[in-house]
Symmetry: C2
Subunit: 544 residues, 2 copies
C-alpha cells in the first residue's frame, strides 16, 4: 500500500489517500452509494463535530470517554469529533419526524470519524480517523426495524460482492453501540485482527467477542470432602500449578478481580479458559474493564496470586463453563490453595457467559465443532432498537394517537478499511491485483521506449481511443526502462497492461497482459482497442 502510493501516514493512525488510493476509495464509495440508493436510503451530510450535550443525553460522553476526541471552543463549550452519529440522527429525527406517516426513514452519509485508538496499527485497518459510510434506519416498530435491517444486510452483501471481497455475515457484539442484535461482515484472512468462530457443520458464525458455545450438562458430584488448604509457595499462575503439582488447568479455578462503580467484582472461570473482556463489558455495562488495584484486593480479602472464590467479599460472577464438581482454587491466603472447592456448595454467584470460545468448542446451534479463523471486519449492522430514542425522548405520533419512541438501526462501512482489505486479499509478491470494479484505472498503457516517435504516437492514439470507448487508462509516459515500468505496473496492479513497443510495432502488434496471468497476448494494432474494450467489459461484468 505504501510502495504503490495508495496512502501515506501523516501521524500515528492518520493517513492521507494519495491520488491513486483516492480513486479506489471513490469507486468503493460509488458502489456503496448505488446500493444504499437502491434500497431507498437517502444521502445527507451531518457535521464531523457534534455538541457534547447530545452525547450526554445518552451517557456515551462519559461511557466512551477513552475513545473520544473531545475539544472545547474558545467559549468553553464542549464538542467531540464524531465517533458515530447515532445521537445526531436521533436529534434530527425527533425534530423532523412528527408522525407515523413520515416513517420509515433511512439516511446515510460518508463522513470522517474520529476514534482515539490507543494503539493504531496495520495501516488503514486500525486508525484514528477514517471515512465511514454510516446509515441509520428509523422505524415505527420492531417489525419495521427488522425489515430495514434485512434491506441493509442484503445491500451489504451486494456491496462486498461487487467490491471483490468474500465477506460473510457473523453474529457480532453490539458493544458500545447499544442495542441487542448485531452482525458483522467479515473477510477471512490471516491479516485480520478479529477471531471468528465458524461451525463446521451448520451455518452458525460468530465473532469471538460475542460467540457462545454449547456447554454440556455436567453431572453434579456428590459427597465430596470439604475444601482443604495446601501449601503452594510462590505458585501464582495456572501454568506453575500445572508444572509443579500436575493439576490439569481444567481442574483449576481462575478468579479475576475487577473494579466497578459499585465495588469489586470477581469473575470465576475454569483454569483452561480465558475471560472475555467484550462479554464482561456487556455484562457490567461499562465502556472499559478496569482491573482491581491493591485497595480493591484488601477490601475483597484477596491475596494477589492466591485469589479464590471461597470466602471472598465481592460480587461474584461464575462463568457457565464452571461445573458443579471439585476444583483447586486460590485460598485467599498467601502461599496457599484449596482443593475440593465445589461451586454451589462452597461459594456461589451470578451465572454468566464470560469466557472466550475457541476452536474445538461446540456450536450453540447444532453442537458441531467450532473452528476459529482470523478475519477483517469490513462492515457492521446493529439493531439499536430504542436504545437511543428512549434516552433522548425521540418520539412520533403513532397511528393510535399515542406518542411512541422510534425503533432504530445503524449500519457502517469503513471505506479505507475496505480498500486495504481488498489489497490484503488481492495481492502477490509483486504487488496488488485490483478487482476491476475498484481498480484506480482499468488499463495501464506502457510505451517503450518513449523516445521512439512511432511508439509514442501509437501509444497516445491508443490511449485516446480507449478513453473514447469509456475505458479508464493510466498512461506511463515516463522515460524509464521496461524493467522499471513493468515492475511498477505489477505493483500498482491495474487489471490490464498494454505495452506498445518498437519490436511489437514492427510485427504490427501491441501486447496485452492481464495482471493475474504470466502469458501475454499479442493483438494486431488495428484491433487492439476493440479487443481491450471487450476484455474490460467482460471483467466488469464479473463484478456487477
Amino acid at each position: 500500500m505504501l510502495r504503490a502510493a495508495i496512502a501515506r501516514p501523516l501521524a500515528a493512525g492518520l493517513y492521507t489517500l494519495l491520488p491513486l488510493g483516492f480513486r479506489v476509495a471513490k469507486k468503493v464509495e460509488r458502489i456503496i452509494r448505488e446500493e444504499m440508493d437502491r434500497i431507498g436510503c437517502q444521502e445527507m451530510e451531518m457535521p464531523v463535530l457534534a455538541p457534547a450535550d447530545l452525547w450526554k443525553e445518552t451517557g456515551r460522553w462519559d461511557l466512551m470517554d477513552d475513545h473520544l476526541f473531545k475539544l472545547r471552543d474558545h467559549g468553553g463549550r464542549e464538542f467531540l469529533v464524531s465517533y458515530t452519529h447515532e445521537e445526531v440522527v436521533t436529534h434530527h429525527a425527533r425534530n423532523e419526524i412528527q408522525s407515523y406517516r413520515q416513517l420509515p426513514v433511512m439516511v446515510y452519509h460518508f463522513r470522517a470519524k474520529g476514534r482515539d485508538e490507543a494503539r493504531p496499527r496495520a495501516g488503514l485497518l486500525r486508525v484514528r480517523e477514517f471515512v465511514m459510510k454510516d446509515a441509520y434506519s428509523i422505524d415505527a416498530d420492531w417489525g419495521g426495524l427488522r425489515k430495514s435491517y434485512q434491506l441493509q444486510h442484503d445491500a451489504y452483501q451486494r456491496i462486498f460482492d461487487r467490491s471483490g471481497v468474500r465477506a460473510i455475515a457473523v453474529e457480532g457484539d453490539a458493544g458500545l453501540m447499544g442495542g441487542d442484535i448485531a452482525h458483522e461482515f467479515q473477510v477471512l484472512t490471516d491479516a485480520g485482527e478479529d477471531v471468528i468462530l465458524i461451525c463446521t457443520q451448520c451455518d452458525h458464525r460468530a465473532n469471538r467477542e460475542a460467540a457462545t458455545r454449547r456447554v454440556d450438562e455436567a453431572v453434579k458430584a456428590d459427597r465430596l470432602p470439604a475444601p482443604e488448604p495446601f501449601h503452594t509457595p510462590q505458585t501464582t499462575t495456572i501454568e506453575q500449578l500445572r508444572e509443579r503439582y500436575g493439576f490439569a488447568p481444567s481442574d483449576l479455578l481462575k478468579t479475576v478481580l475487577l473494579r466497578s462503580a459499585d465495588g469489586v467484582v470477581a469473575v470465576v472461570v475454569p483454569g483452561d479458559r480465558e475471560v472475555s473482556e467484550p462479554k464482561l463489558r456487556r455484562i457490567l455495562g461499562v465502556g472499559d474493564i478496569k482491573f482491581a488495584n491493591e485497595a480493591d484486593f484488601a477490601a475483597a480479602g484477596g491475596v494477589a496470586g492466591y485469589v479464590g472464590p471461597v470466602g471472598l467479599k465481592a460480587r461474584t460472577l461464575v462463568d457457565v463453563s464452571v461445573e458443579p464438581r471439585a476444583y483447586v482454587a486460590g485460598a485467599n491466603q498467601a502461599d496457599h490453595h484449596l482443593r475440593n472447592v465445589v461451586p454451589g456448595r462452597d461459594f456461589d454467584g451470578e451465572r454468566v457467559d464470560a469466557h472466550d470460545v475457541r476452536s474445538g468448542d461446540h456450536c450453540p446451534k447444532c453442537g458441531g465443532l467450532l473452528e476459529a479463523k482470523r478475519g477483517i471486519e469490513v462492515g457492521n449492522i446493529f439493531q439499536l432498537g430504542t436504545y437511543y430514542s428512549s434516552k433522548m425522548n425521540a418520539t412520533y405520533l403513532a397511528e393510535d394517537g399515542t406518542r411512541k419512541v422510534f425503533v432504530m438501526g445503524s449500519y457502517g462501512i469503513g471505506v479505507g478499511r475496505l480498500v486495504q482489505t481488498i489489497i490484503e486479499t488481492h495481492r502477490d509478491d509483486r504487488g496488488i491485483l485490483w478487482p476491476i470494479s475498484v481498480a484506480p484505472f482499468e488499463t495501464h498503457v506502457v510505451a517503450l521506449p518513449m523516445k521512439d516517435e512511432a511508439v509514442r504516437a501509437t501509444a497516445e492514439a491508443l490511449v485516446a481511443d480507449l478513453e473514447r470507448e469509456g475505458v479508464e487508462v493510466l498512461y506511463d509516459d515516463r522515460d524509464e526502462s521496461a524493467g522499471v515500468k513493468f515492475a511498477d505496473a505489477d505493483l500498482i496492479g491495474i487489471p490490464f497492461r498494454v505495452t506498445v513497443s518498437a519490436r511489437g510495432l514492427k510485427a504490427g502488434t501491441v501486447e496485452v497482459k492481464p495482471r493475474e496471468r504470466t502469458e501475454v497476448e499479442n493483438v494486431p494494432a488495428a484491433s487492439a482497442v476493440a479487443r481491450i474494450a471487450t476484455l474490460v467489459r467482460e471483467a466488469r461484468a464479473r463484478y456487477s
Copy 2:
C-alpha cells in the same frame, strides 16, 4: 433554506445538510471536480485532524490560536481540526517530491474544515465547520506559480458560471494564509458580509480589507504656528470635537494605541477615516489586533480620550491619508487637545496604508471614482510563494543541481457557502429558483388528486419515462391539496413543475410550468415526455 429543508442547524455554526440540500451540494461538488480535473489537478484526501507539530513549524499554531479547534489525545499529543491544509500538503510534498522532474503538481480534496468562529451567523455563510474544496499548486519557480494560479483563476470563473452565480474576481487580502497576491471571487448581493470597492471607470476591484486608493499629492503647508494646547473638557471623540468646537473630522487626527509583542504601537489616521484591522494585522504580522490596556497607556504617556502623536513614547505608524498640514490632535494631557499639529514637523513615524477605503475614494489604478458594494466571497486564490515551503524546509533537487524551496499556491471554495449564495441570488417571495445545473432535481411531478387512479397511473408512468430519458424527477405523491403541493413546489424551486390532474387528463393534457414563469403550458399527454426532456436539455445547455 430552513423552510425548504435544505439544511438544519445542529449547534451554533454547525449545520446538517438534509437530503435535498445534499443533492445540491453534490452537484456543486461535481462541477468543481470536473473543472479541477480539466486543469490537471489531482484529487486526493488528507485527514481532517492534523498533528500540531506541522502547524508549529510554520508558526500558525500560535498565530491563529483564536480561530483553531485544538484538541489532545489521551496520550497528551496535540492536534487541530484542520483550518486549511497548507502545512499538510507542504509536508507531503517535501517527502514525495524529490526532483524538478516531478513538478509541477496540483492536488485538491473536498474536506471538512473547522474554524472557531466567535460569531457564527447568516446560515451557511459564516459557520464553524464546512466542506471546502481546497487545492494546492506546487511549482519549481514563480513563473510556474503564475501559470498554475491563472489555470485555477480560469477554472474558478467556469465553476461559478456553471453554478449560476455571477462572481467577479477582486483583489483580496492574503491574511492568515501568508503570501502576497490573492484574489477573491465575490458575488455582489446585499446579503453579503464583505465590502468590495469597484472602480466605476476601469476594471479595478478590491475587497475593502485589501483596497487602496489614490491619495492626492498634498501641498506642504509652510510657516504654520507651533502647536498650541487648548481646553477641551470631557471631549474624547471625533464627534464631540465636531459638535462642540466645529472642527471638520478631516482636520482632526485620530490616534489608536495597540499592543504588540514589541511594545505599544500608535496608529495615526485623519479623523474622517477608519483604521483597517486587516491592513494592520498584515503590517504588524499578527493574527489578531489587540488594543492597548491601561498599562500600555501609562507606558506610552497617553491619556485615554486625549491621545495624540506629539510626544508619544511609542512606535508610530502614520497612515498615508495624513497630509503635511495643520491638524487638531490629542495633547496626551487630560481635557486638552493641540491645534496646529503638523505631521513631519511635530511628530514622525513610519508611513503605512492602514485606513479603510470607501465609496467616493479614487481608484489606485486610474483615479476614477470607487463605489462600495456588498458581496459574498465564494472562492479565494492565494499565491503563497515560499511562505510555507521556506518555513518547513520543503525543497527539491533543481535542474542546476541545487536544492530549492517549492513555490506554492492555494485555492479554496466553500461548498455550503456557494449553495447558500445560489439561494440568495435565486429566490423570490415564494421560495428558491434553482439554476438547473445545481437543482436537487430537474422536474417536479405533482399528481392531483392522488386518490384518482388514472391520475396516479399517468403520473407514475410519466415519472418512469422521464427517468428513462435521463431527467431527474421529484415525485410528489402525498395526499395533499393542490394549494399545499404548489406552494411546496415553489418553495423547493425545482426548475420545471409538471402537474398531472384529473381535469387535465380529461382534455388529454398535462401542465408544464417553469419555476420562473407564472403562465403554464398545456402539453398533450402523449408528447409530454419529449417536450419536458427538450425543455430540460435547453435549460442545461445554458449552464454548460
